[in-house]
Symmetry: C2
């Protein structure tokens, strides 16, 4: 935990759980990405954490932005960033939202099917489009579903369709899966992207750009390769598959940019057992799945948790949230070891919670307020 | 769909998805519960849908309220209901929230362990407490986890502890599991409750109340038993297990009170295929898991969906939401049959969505606004 966050929390007198994001760490993360992949443009995935202070910092550092909606585009424009630093990266867009984005000056759009190409041709004529291609996500902690992207064999038809409708068939995108620790995953995806470039060249259309998406991991409890390792591996794969005709490249870090910059402070509401013989304790916090920790779903992400009693003997605990909803349980299949001396009223610190916490929070399930957020 | 909702939607000119709740249906549901179980008090589970219009209607009909937090207690008090119509039914409460509730006049609290009893004895002295007991939920569509309640063998100790600390050991509660279609489930639970009453009588403490919780189903695609069948079965079990010393009883319908009163109108954003050979279409709506349809998680609830093209030939569709999140897919394991003529821009109506939609909605994931709600 950063000293700045520690100081902030010591002085805070608000009640209830909150997340605190340290901008110094976001800045370090941006610079690490920029240095590891110096010829690649960074498009921050706004959905990971759209706090205005984070967007403004990244704007001042020269970042571009990957937006999922007109709402996110407006948040980015509010920082003063020009629209040419925005990619409308959602493959699922209403035609009237495309028109709004176009009116704002956005000229770069994701597609994965001819139907979406047609909307863009009508609502944002002349724009650049890149086609998202399915990627199997092997090695990712959260392999993606088939929701985004088309079969690689279909991509040239989608892009040629765009070209014929007066759009600029600009490139290819993929996503190797969230929290991807397998450096080879980018190699497979880049080989596939190079194949689409070659097929398009045969059709007389020169693609210019590869959007390599996100997937850069944040360190939770397990070690992950550092960004420089990713940079070296990706650069190696690019030269291997594209030779000396390297395309322009984009990355879209979200979790990798803000995950480790944030920390949640929560409180122990109750510690109990279900029967006198139970060996497992139930520890209930004032935050759960519905107020910021949605990514514990299926126990996918196991956050590091610090307490004031660390160092004491631990006991296995089922960790749960405060709502009257039986699915609001964070860790049960694999109980979480917590200090035996942990007490009701103690604070706990949940680390690496800068990404996908504030925005996943419900508006007020069970009458509890959304997760409070501070950016320092 | 009610004629009132149809009229409202015809006149609406707002953009984006919304849920519309028909108060006439809520009124019918309340009256059906009251008639099916005339000697039982209805405590509406506020978490299912805390819209002020719904709370005010139920207040005027004489309902009481099951609240999960101080926030919900304040919403109920805002209708003018007196605090003696409120049960603080969450077994997980901060001591300072218990004190706030007590200051508001709330005198009925749920517990499931000695630690919670001690908080209530300190912060709400003299109050009534009921002990929630674990119930296996067999037959429920969503059996509950072990999050709430203690082993039945532990309940007498919890209640005796309350008695010794100056609280009124008032009764027992259970929850048979959400969307419970097995009428026998209440019989098992009531037998268990009667056992706790007997053990407490041996200890010289007379319990007064059984809180039978919720679990009353709403009709989605499958038929479910009607509320009168539940009423008859529950009354039969009560007399079977308690003889002529019937306890006071409470039910806490949430989904059963408002589920079928609401309807979501959404729009088809995109229809596409992942490859030219695919037999399954992908249909993307402007609402998904993060903006109201969280209960499609694991495809648990299969909502009835109406379109303007109903009656036409259907094709299997994967149904997904609009966000850049690969888990935002509603139905994939079991594709949803939708009309082959369904088009981008068409409206779809998602029925039985009055419960657990507005409050599960995220604050703004991907920059999309929370689910808009209208109560008519």
């Amino acid at each position: 935990m950063s000293e700045r966050i520690r100081d902030f929390l010591r002085r805070r007198d608000d009640d209830g759980p909150c997340v605190v994001v340290d901008l110094d760490i976001v800045r370090d993360n941006y610079e690490t990405f920029a240095k590891a992949l110096p010829d690649t443009s960074v498009y921050y995935a706004v959905k990971a954490n759209p706090a205005p202070e984070i967007l403004s910092l990244l704007e001042s550092l020269g970042s571009s932005f990957d937006c999922a909606s007109v709402g996110e585009i407006e948040m980015v424009l509010a920082t003063g960033a020009s629209a040419d630093r925005i990619s409308y990266g959602n493959t699922i867009k209403k035609e009237r939202d495309i028109a709004k984005a176009h009116a704002y000056g956005v000229r770069l759009f994701a597609v994965d099917c001819p139907e979406e190409v047609e909307k863009i041709a009508r609502a944002a004529p002349g724009s650049r489009v890149f086609c998202r291609v399915l990627c199997d996500g092997a090695g990712a902690e959260w392999p993606l579903s088939r929701k985004f992207g088309c079969d690689p064999a279909m991509a040239p038809d989608v892009l040629e369709h765009a070209h014929r409708l007066g759009l600029q068939a600009y490139g290819v995108s993929f996503h190797v899966g969230s929290q991807q620790a397998n450096l080879q995953a980018w190699d497979f995806a880049l080989a596939m992207a190079a194949g689409v470039f070659q097929e398009m060249a045969v059709r007389g259309i020169d693609l210019k750009m590869v959007n390599m998406g996100g997937g850069f991991p944040t360190r939770y409890l397990k070690d992950v390769p550092g960004v420089p390792s990713y940079g070296a591996a990706i650069f190696g794969s690019l030269t291997k598959h594209f030779g000396n005709r390297l395309p322009a490249t984009i990355i879209e870090p979200g979790r990798g940019m803000v995950g480790n910059a944030g920390l949640i402070e929560a409180e122990v509401v109750l510690i109990s057992k279900k029967s006198e013989q139970d060996e497992v304790r139930w520890v209930y916090l004032d935050i759960g799945k519905f107020h910021g920790l949605a990514e514990t779903m299926d126990e996918a992400i196991r956050y590091p948790i610090r307490t004031e009693k660390d160092g004491a003997e631990t006991v296995p605990c089922v960790l749960a949230g405060p709502t009257c909803d039986s699915v609001d349980v964070l860790y049960e299949k694999t109980p979480y070891p917590l200090p035996v001396s942990l007490s009701i009223g103690d604070k706990v610190l949940i680390e690496a919670t800068g990404a996908y916490t504030t925005t996943y929070s419900s508006v007020g399930f069970n009458g509890f307020a959304p997760l409070a957020s501070y950016v320092i």
